[in-house]
Subunit: 565 residues, 2 copies
């Protein structure tokens, strides 16, 4: 079935005034600040004004372990929100802001798709209200102040070889991964081996996503560690006198952005932390507002349930105190077939022909991943709902297998055709979610703050990933000791590993067992509030492809954007 | 006399709804897009809608050669606009957007000052509507595409040693002036010796300021030259397929930003090109709209009249076709005393005590600079008005000297106390400007497009700067030949020299003669549309001081910004 392009659907959407969208969440016009015609920032005063309203149901959308193509989590999130509205429920959606690097790189736009997308797609994909840019500015101001501190006498005794704060830009630019700065003459600073990450990977972005108030953001920014002294003591943004200015740069960015879907469901778009090395979830501020404003609040967690949902539970909910009522697991026929180990799916290439022929056995052969990810939701005491994201190349017999496996594992299950059908296509899913959310929440964190860092890592590795154990490089083990000595041991952990496998090896499909999680390095985002062990190579600055999307993007004779999808 | 801080005055200002501000310029609410509560972008449809209205008087505010402290050009521009309103004239002001680098560096905010400032000062100094960030994004996307082109086979045959396109960030960061990128492994690109400029110095910013329509901006972005082939042929952003995406990134930025002064005079804040290496004037788009909307449109040109005003006439007006009706020359007692050569004024230090004692002779000893700058205005057929920006430490006898010198040189003259008095303090100035603008304009460009580059340079050097001649480094002479061979010879020139002297030597005060302008290097901003000979050291990335303003900037317990001025 052929439907119009995302950009065409976006253009054809009938948008409602944002005042009206906001009103459905109990937000008066005095709480809105318009940014252009179809985006508004929501004043943080909303938190106080809505405080007496009961919290709505809190639904997280996750997935089985995806293929490199992604399994449609954002479209499912949007489609589910729309379907709940169609069922007469007051629903809202919260998602992350897309990063412009990939927009001009491989992806084009990223705001859902088809009839389950956020509009206008030009706005969400380009600058939005400048939050990403504010993160870039705050992050790089701190970098400049670190360099300036060294240049002006190094009062704090920063060890030039132990500066951990890099710079960021919201662009796919491989040449910036590894750079030497401070060349030139004496007036041009101190030479440093360093690099740039993409803005989404900035700790400042993670701070934005996890802050629970402006004041809390100010404190977290102050706690950011930029490096260590010769004696191994951490030096913070507060020590450098940078945290106040960084907060001022982020003062508007902390306000969530209100938009709408093609069906006028309210969407709060806010923060965009990089799922590889951060928790990969949209902001707590948005959820604090939208759970009060809506009866059903649907949010997306990045990657598969072992990654995004685990961090949603153990990092985001730990910080916010919000309690999830149900979790959606997006599953696709193609991903389960890929988990059989019989096919190879590569980003940017067509799916293998044989994967598209009817073969329920291949789906069953990959079902171990679905079972494990259902377990990963239940492990946290949350009711799972499997959403079969239907593709035109699917066969009913293949859906039947997914249904049977899910039900056997004790999950609700529904097919969903939100991409082509919008909210109407996701009604069965919405009904299953409403049922699941009615069950009393038995939500529990996987580990207490007080557990030591190794226990936290090992708990996630063995219970969520299915590893037999964890191994540590010597430097990783030493970093853990140092962090605990510095008082960072109480932080939750955010394990950086591939999202393409439950294991740390992207080629291991299904639900591998008997393997060991190799912790190569351990870093700390002390400001954001987590320690992140790194297992495998984590790229924090993408590159452009041979034919970047940027080459196709332009304006037409009316000044309208073309080629964004 | 002590008045409240700029931030206090800004907070206490009674702002009018922007719809009302816009209406006074004939702009209906359908042409406004709000960005937060007190800033709006103006749709470019305004150009067409206002096309049948007569153009108002077009006034440029320049200055004598300033001290490093600046002589109050922005406050005079704002104060004059306010005074014209008080006299019942429909006035508007257009100025550049301040750069955030200096805001967190030495300066704090920069939006006028005292009772002649643009409000809210937090908005104009922090992000505004994101135009600077859009320039950063577009500029760095092009840089990434240059690097990617080399990495992916270099189809166009770019010479890696002749890549002229650097990167930009809106921060004062000396460590970024000179960097090596592309280190790491084969997957991390090609090593390059390069650097970062501050965003205001980006050619993309100069394009934004000189574009006369969205389509024109698209073409100028396409013409940007990023480097040369082995055969010396220019390679453009268009060749790389980047210009469309850059335009899409700049599609909102091209719309001027509407704000207001503390007295509710309309202000269009737009573009912020670096005066050192670009023309240093606010945008043509803003002036195209505001000259139709207002009866008197007052704009500021950077630095002294030899720099900003010369470029205003010969670059900005050449591009826009707009005809200036009068030029204000801001003069101060302190700057004229400094031009006597008897004092040394240093940025960030108190003025010398002796400079503050009454001494009209010192003023007269520095008057040559004022005479020459008056000449520089008359050279372009425009009526000069000298504005004595009054300081509390001035003496009436000193003002009398300035008055006498100006009148003798055939200029109108008025004192102005807009800093402490707002528009009311600038009434005498406004009356003089009204008179001057009534004279029929005999505006003329200093040189035709068809003159060769050496003739253009020599015309400005001898006629405006008062040089005896021009010398060229060998490489500069060769660059001129190459540019003319590549068809860039028809462009106007933007001479990059110190703004602290009419000459290229910042220590030469007054109106030096008998000196030679040394052209060290010649570069081309082909997209923006000018060639810029560089005379002396031009820093395009500032550093932070020992006590950067950022250390004092923070939020208070109510979340309000503190320490911005």
């Amino acid at each position: 079935m052929s439907i119009p392009s995302d950009l065409e659907i976006s253009r054809a959407a009938t948008m409602r005034p944002l005042d009206e969208i906001a009103a459905s969440l109990g937000l008066g016009p005095h709480l809105l600040e318009n940014y252009g015609r179809n985006v508004a920032k929501i004043s943080l005063d909303a938190v106080g004004e809505l405080a007496t309203r009961p919290r709505g149901k809190y639904i997280v959308v996750s997935a089985i372990t995806p293929t490199p193509l992604g399994e449609g989590k954002t479209t499912t999130t949007v489609g589910l929100g729309q379907a709940l509205r169609q069922l007469g429920r007051n629903a809202a959606v919260t998602i992350r802001q897309p990063s412009m690097g990939p927009t001009f790189g491989i992806k084009g736009g990223a705001a859902g798709g088809g009839y389950s997308q956020v509009v206008p797609m030009e706005a969400i994909n380009l600058h939005l209200t400048g939050d990403m840019h504010a993160v870039t500015a705050a992050h790089n101001l701190l970098a400049a102040m670190v360099g300036n501190h060294l240049h002006k006498g190094n009062r704090l005794g920063l060890d030039p070889h132990r500066i951990t704060w890099r710079r960021v830009l919201d662009v796919n630019d491989r040449e910036l991964r590894s750079v030497v700065t401070g060349l030139g003459g004496r007036a041009d600073g101190t030479p440093q081996q360093t690099g740039f990450d993409i803005t989404a990977a900035s700790e400042v972005m993670a701070v934005l996503a996890l802050a629970t108030s402006l004041r809390d953001m100010r404190m977290r920014l102050g706690r950011i560690v930029v490096g260590y002294t010769q004696d191994g003591l951490p030096v913070s943004a507060e020590d450098l006198g940078a945290a106040g200015a960084m907060t001022v740069l982020m003062r508007e960015a902390i306000k969530p952005n209100l938009m709408q879907t093609v069906e006028n469901t309210p969407v709060l778009v806010h923060a965009g932390p990089f799922g590889n090395i951060a928790h990969g979830n949209s902001s707590i501020m948005a959820d604090l507002i939208a759970t009060r404003g809506a009866d059903y609040m649907v949010t997306e967690a990045g990657f598969g349930a072992d990654m995004g949902a685990e961090r949603f539970f153990n990092i985001k909910c730990r910080n916010s105190g919000l309690v999830p009522d149900a979790a959606v697991l997006v599953a696709t026929v193609r991903a389960l077939k890929a988990h059989s180990g019989r096919f190879r799916v590569v980003a940017g290439r067509d799916l293998p022909e044989e994967l598209l022929t009817e073969n329920p056995d291949d789906v069953l052969a990959g079902a171990a991943n679905l079972r494990k990810q259902i377990d990963n939701i239940r492990l946290h005491g949350v009711s799972p709902v499997v959403a079969i994201n239907v593709f035109p190349t699917d066969h009913p017999s293949e859906h039947d297998v997914i249904r049977a496996v899910a039900e056997e594992a004790g999950a609700r299950v529904a097919t969903s055709q939100h991409f082509t059908g919008g909210g109407k296509g996701a009604l069965e899913l919405a009904e299953a979610v409403i049922e699941a959310a009615e069950e009393p929440s038995r939500f529990r964190l996987l580990y207490p703050d007080s557990a030591d860092l190794r226990t936290k890592i090992e708990t996630i590795a063995t219970r969520v990933y299915g590893a037999a154990g964890v191994s540590y490089e010597r430097s990783a083990a030493r970093a853990i000791e140092d962090y605990e000595a510095n008082g960072f041991g109480r932080l939750p952990v955010c394990i950086a590993k591939t999202h393409l496998s439950l294991s740390a090896d992207p080629s291991l499909v299904g639900a591998p067992t008997g393997w060991t999680l190799p912790v190569r390095e351990v870093r700390a985002s002390v400001g954001a509030g987590f320690v992140y062990p790194i297992c495998g190579d984590m790229r924090t600055m993408p590159g452009l492809g041979s034919h970047p999307a940027a080459e196709r993007i332009d304006i037409d004779e009316h000044g309208e954007v073309t080629g964004l999808n």
